[in-house]
Structures are given as C-alpha cells and as structure tokens.
Symmetry: C3
Amino acid sequence: MDRALVVAIIRRTALEAAENKLQQIGVRGFTVIAVRGRGEVFAPGHDFLAHDPLDDEVKIEVYVAREQARQVLEAIVDAAHTGSEGDGIVAILPVESVVSVRTRAEATSG
Amino acid sequence: MDRALVVAIIRRTALEAAENKLQQIGVRGFTVIAVRGRGEVFAPGHDFLAHDPLDDEVKIEVYVAREQARQVLEAIVDAAHTGSEGDGIVAILPVESVVSVRTRAEATSG
Amino acid sequence: MDRALVVAIIRRTALEAAENKLQQIGVRGFTVIAVRGRGEVFAPGHDFLAHDPLDDEVKIEVYVAREQARQVLEAIVDAAHTGSEGDGIVAILPVESVVSVRTRAEATSG
C-alpha cells in the first residue's frame, strides 16, 4: 500500500479541534509533539528579531494511505484555520513503508 | 550514498531494548524524541474518545544507508514487539542527502 | 512549487547561531524541537555504552523551495560547525506539498 506522512505545525489552541476533525474522517492514529516555531510561515509579513522568543506550537504527524493524504491535510487546515498570522502549515511527505510493531506486517490503515 | 530515514514510534518501556538492538547491529547514531500518540496504530480495534489523554511514547529517528533500512526497521520491531495493542509503528522515509556538520561531507554511516 | 525539508540535528549551543544564519539568508519560517541523541553522527570514532545518557541536542526543521535546500543546509553547517565530535548532521528530505493554514494555498516561501 502506498503511504504518505502528513505533518502539521499549528497553534496549540487548535490541537483539540484538529484531533476531533481527524477522528471524524476516520483517522485514528497520530502523534503529537511540542515544538517551538518562528517566522514567515507562522507570521507572514512580519519581521522578527533573531532573539525574539520562539512561539509554542504543536506538530501532528499522521501516517496515511497515499490517496487519503490530501483529505487529511484539508481536515487539519479546516480545524486550524483562523485566517490570521501564525496559523501554521501542513505538509505531505513521501513514505516508503510503514510496519505495525504488533503484527510485524505493513500497516493497512491510519 | 543512497540514504533513508527510519522512524519508530514505540512504547517508552521499549526504548532501552531498541537502543541495545541498534547497537548490536552496528547503528550508532540516532535521535530520541518524547511524543504523545493516540489511535489505531497504537490500539487497533479499540475506539478512542477525542478527549482521552494521549499516550506517552518515544520516537526514534535513524539516518541509515538505504540498503540497511529494512534491517534497522526489523531490529526495532523485534525490540519493541509485545504482540499487544499499542506496540507502535516503524516507517521508512526517503532521504536526498545527509551531511556531517563536523566533516562538511556526506555522512557515510549511521 | 517543488519543496524540500531540511532537518538539522545540532548542539543546543549552536541554535542561536543557526537562527541568525537562517535569518541572514532570508529563511524566516522554521521549527525547533528538543531531542536527545547518541552515537556515531554525534561522536564518530568513539564507542558508546547503551546505558550512557543521551546528549541533549536540538532539531531544526525548515520547509524550503527545492532549489534553496542546499543553501539552507550549508548555512546551518556553517553555523554549527566546530570541527569536533558531536557537531551533528543536516539532512534534506523530499516533500510533496506544503500548504499555509492561513491562506489555504501552497506555501510560496519560508
């Protein structure tokens, strides 16, 4: 099965909405990581100083079937979109293989 | 040299066994990140509630030669496998280049 | 637009220099994650014991235009290079798509 990795870097306040949205579209496996971010993707049009503190954000990572990747990306965008600066980004990365540690077989769903 | 990135998301209790296994097969460079996870890849067959707390997991990242990727994946699966839900996943991602900051040259091992 | 992900795993003490260097070359969006690392890429030529504590490092992730990836990699190498063991690595990963949550369109910079 062709797979992809959806990576979202969004506001911490958007995490719960994103989790709910993922659940609604049937995605049940994902990982959440606390990150700090800065710059244009977080605040386009605003200059920043190198010594400004970094913003607290969360990174969500979801391994999905390749044909589901765009839907998952759009679900997270819908959940995290406020229209103001600092909304973050969502990316799709190619993946060669995903194996379930429990079954030792290729993972067949998200 | 063709490279790949092996990413494992496993139980925290499996970290030491995974580290030992990686050392046994000659992998000496890797990164460990504290993450939280939820869902099917962690607990297939079980429903979850969106407001359940996320499980504490660790993510291991290993940059390896492309032809070594499957061996590294299998070593981590062996170390982390319990056969019960929540064992996690291991993925292989394509990588274009890995450079050593110390030597400024392509990294030749892992 | 063709995109790539530059991932750097470097000493924490090199973070500020790396941030300044990224700003100088016009990169304004990036993410910083606290990680722990061990092994050859951090200390080539030195054996390690599996129960040694992991070193504290930082991971920087930058989504860039594909043709800018090598320049960003080299900027981080320049900032983080000391020439001694433990300097870390910088990798380039392929990316299929990066969408701005604010504009809902493909991200065009940063």
